[in-house]
């Protein structure tokens, strides 16, 4: 009797000690907690700080003495919207995005599909070759390309002179400079996009291609009927990330042209950098970065919405 009673009690205790549902539901939060904490501290919080700073006249004297910082409402935004350089930077960013993103996404996709045709040693070497720009330091890139483009002693103009062509003002003519800078960024950005596409390509089961071959499909049909539709998610992912990185376009114009000639290659990010870190107008730069943040958020939200709708 007593033994059974004791067992029963122990069982009921076990039942009582079963972790409540609340605890099991806490597990995922504990797991994402550290990442979330970092994200909140360094991303979300800094957005709010930037939003608050954008309403002040914080500059270097304010940094030294917080008493000198004044709340100026939307003053920074007003000044910015009446600054032609801001609109030029916005226009340049749009130009870079329109040139760069389609070229990069379509170009990388084509190269990835071509690279996927064979797994021979040569093709594997080619894959490594295409990835090199992505891991090369931007300073080295700027030195090499700066020398290629140079109008006085650049390699490209020397090659042109061999075939009797006039030198091209690669980094000096406002329109050509935009294209030159975009070309370097496309070249540099392609490596990562190609790798992502290659991974997606290799995840496509070969049975589909075999079945298509049995049905008599040619290579083009295989690409357009099987490969591209099955890579929709990869294409979507690459498009979103490429778009965001091009809206934040900074490195190439910074190292190659410093935004010149006469603002022709000044992107939004470079404009923000110049205002914040060259002129020490931290309040104004924060306002500009909030505007860029809003634009990126809206564009990305629109893309996500478009994808949801197309999936539905």
């Amino acid at each position: 009797m007593t033994v059974t009673a004791a067992r029963q009690e122990a069982r009921s205790r076990l039942v009582a000690f079963r972790p409540p549902r609340l605890r099991t539901s806490l597990v995922p939060y504990v797991l994402v907690g550290p990442a979330l904490l970092l994200l909140v501290t360094f991303s979300v919080l800094s957005i709010f700080v930037a939003a608050a700073v954008s309403l002040t006249n914080l500059d270097i004297s304010g940094l030294a003495n917080f008493g000198a910082v004044r709340f100026i409402g939307l003053g920074n935004y007003q000044t910015m919207f009446s600054d032609p350089a801001f609109w030029e930077a916005l226009g340049n960013t749009a130009f870079f995005v329109l040139i760069g993103v389609p070229t990069l996404v379509i170009g990388s996709l084509i190269i990835a599909i071509a690279l996927n045709f064979s797994r021979s040693r040569f093709f594997r070497a080619l894959r490594a070759f295409y990835f090199v720009p992505a891991i090369t330091a931007i300073v080295a890139i700027s030195l090499i390309w700066g020398n290629l483009y140079n109008s006085q002693f650049g390699l490209l103009n020397w090659l042109l002179s061999l075939i009797g062509r006039d030198p091209v003002q690669w980094l000096t003519d406002p329109t050509i400079a935009k294209l030159s800078v975009a070309l370097v960024a496309i070249w540099r950005g392609s490596g990562l996009d190609i790798i992502i596409f290659l991974a997606a390509l290799q995840a496509i089961p070969p049975e589909y291609y075999e079945a298509a071959a049995v049905d008599g499909a040619n290579e083009w049909q295989k690409i357009f009927r099987i490969t591209v539709p099955l890579m929709r998610f990869a294409i979507f992912f690459v498009t979103v990330t490429t778009l965001i990185s091009w809206m934040q376009f900074f490195d190439e114009p910074y190292v190659l042209t410093q935004g010149g000639p006469v603002h022709a290659t000044t992107s939004m990010s470079l404009y923000i950098y110049q205002q914040g870190f060259r002129y020490d107008e931290f309040g104004f730069a924060s306002a500009a970065s909030i505007v860029l943040f809003a634009i990126i958020a809206i564009v990305t939200a629109l893309q996500l919405r478009a994808r949801l709708e197309s999936d539905a």
Binding site: S61, L63, A85, N150, Q152, L171, G260, V262, F277
Partner: protein, 413 residues
């Protein structure tokens, strides 16, 4: 109640102690000077090896160790911002004259005026008049003292000018433009002169030479006939195709290759030519700037200041005193090719015996500082943007300069 009175008394007591300490610090400086043995930290520009070598002599003489940290020119502003925001800076720092307003408005520099009396090296009369205390400091303060100087002169290729039938370098604006025109006729891809598109000092120099000034009543203005003359002169070189339009044109390369046989630059170009093209020795020379009403050049260079929160003010002052001496200034010229600011050092035979250095020192007598106002960076960028859009993009001169004037006045309200 009693507690509150206690607090007030304590506060007053502390205040009195603080006042007393401050008074002692200001008045009787010399006894503490010998006790402050550092170590002190100094931020200098670019290369730290030469400066560290210079500091060895100072350490032997005073027993104060000095840590030298080199800051690249491009990073100075970042470094300053971080130091101001965190409150952690060095004891001393080299400040390029163009950055002086940023450092001053950041409150980063200690006012040295109470110490000048006891440190004769810091006295303004030791230095060139272009960097007199009242020109480099807000009124009544001494926030930094001159260290090295740099001046723009005309570099010209004697061989190329001679071959083009120009026997002596241009000494007036008219000759300058005419000679450039002759030199540009040497053929396709050859120019007479080179205007760096990043050089906002050049149109200001031209304004000074036209007899004007860009500062009026404490504000920057380009609404003067002299500035108009300067802008016209600047634009004329482009209009007549006497200068390259490429923004990536390399000044030193262009001068060495002879593409641009006349350039206006500082002594650092001379060092670059001597270093990279020794074969050109004797084929080039320097002269003072071509004159219009005047021949005023740009005075550039660096000052030295003490960080406002330095804990080794006395040791730092001794270092400033040391650097002000002719021997240190000459040793630095020898090591780094940077010209002194102390008058005695500039008059030293080691400098005056070199004809090129003689030209620099002559030009230093007629050289001015760019406006030392915090907004100058933005204003000068607007100036460059306007001039460059006229000469490179073909913008209308009158309307562009009118909108420049509007921008400049709105930046200073």
């Amino acid at each position: 109640m009693k507690n509150r009175y206690m607090k007030q008394f304590t506060a007053m007591g502390l205040f009195a102690v603080a006042l007393w300490t401050a008074a002692c610090g200001g008045g009787t400086n010399t006894p503490t000077a010998s006790t402050d043995k550092g170590p002190i930290q100094i931020w200098t520009m670019e290369d730290s090896t030469a400066f560290t070598a210079l500091m060895q002599d100072f350490t032997t003489k005073t027993g104060i160790p000095v840590q030298v940290e080199a800051v690249p020119w491009g990073n100075v502003n970042d470094k300053l911002t971080t130091a101001v925001a965190s409150g952690n800076g060095p004891d001393l720092m080299q400040i390029g004259l163009s950055l002086l307003p940023s450092f001053e408005s950041a409150g980063a520099l200690l006012d040295l005026s109470p110490y000048v009396k006891d440190h004769p090296g810091l006295q303004s009369s030791n230095y060139l008049s272009a960097v007199a205390a009242d020109k480099i400091n807000p009124s009544g303060k001494v926030l930094s003292v001159p260290w090295v100087s740099d001046v723009r002169v005309l570099f010209y290729r004697t061989d190329i000018l001679g071959a083009a039938g120009i026997s002596s370098p241009p000494s007036t604006w008219t000759q300058f433009h005419d000679d450039a025109a002759v030199l540009a006729q040497r053929g396709k891809g050859k120019f007479g002169y080179y205007i760096p598109q990043w050089d906002s000092a050049l149109p200001v120099e031209f304004t000074w030479e036209a007899g004007g000034n860009v500062m009026q009543n404490g504000k920057v203005t380009f609404e003067t006939p002299q500035f108009k003359a300067a802008a016209d002169f600047y634009i004329s070189f482009y209009k007549d195709k006497l200068v390259p339009t490429a923004s990536d044109f390399d000044q030193a390369q262009g001068f060495i290759s002879g593409t641009a046989p006349m350039v206006i630059s500082g002594p650092y170009l001379a060092a670059a030519i001597k270093g990279t093209a020794p074969q050109l020795d004797g084929k080039w020379n320097v002269t003072t700037l071509p004159r219009n009403q005047k021949g005023t050049s740009l005075f550039a260079g660096s000052n030295m200041g003490i960080w406002a929160k330095s804990k080794h003010v006395d040791a730092s002052l001794r270092l400033l005193d040391y650097l002000a001496q002719s021997s240190a200034q000459l040793a630095w010229y020898k090591a780094a090719n940077e010209l002194p600011t102390a008058k005695t050092a500039l008059a030293d035979p080691t400098l005056t015996s070199d004809p090129m250095v003689k030209t620099y020192t002559n030009q230093l007598q007629d050289a001015q500082l760019l406006p030392l106002v915090p907004k100058w960076d933005k204003i000068s960028q607007a100036l460059l943007d306007s001039l460059n859009s006229i000469v490179l993009k073909g913008a209308d001169e009158t309307s562009t300069l009118a909108s420049l004037n509007a921008t400049v006045s709105s930046l200073q309200t």
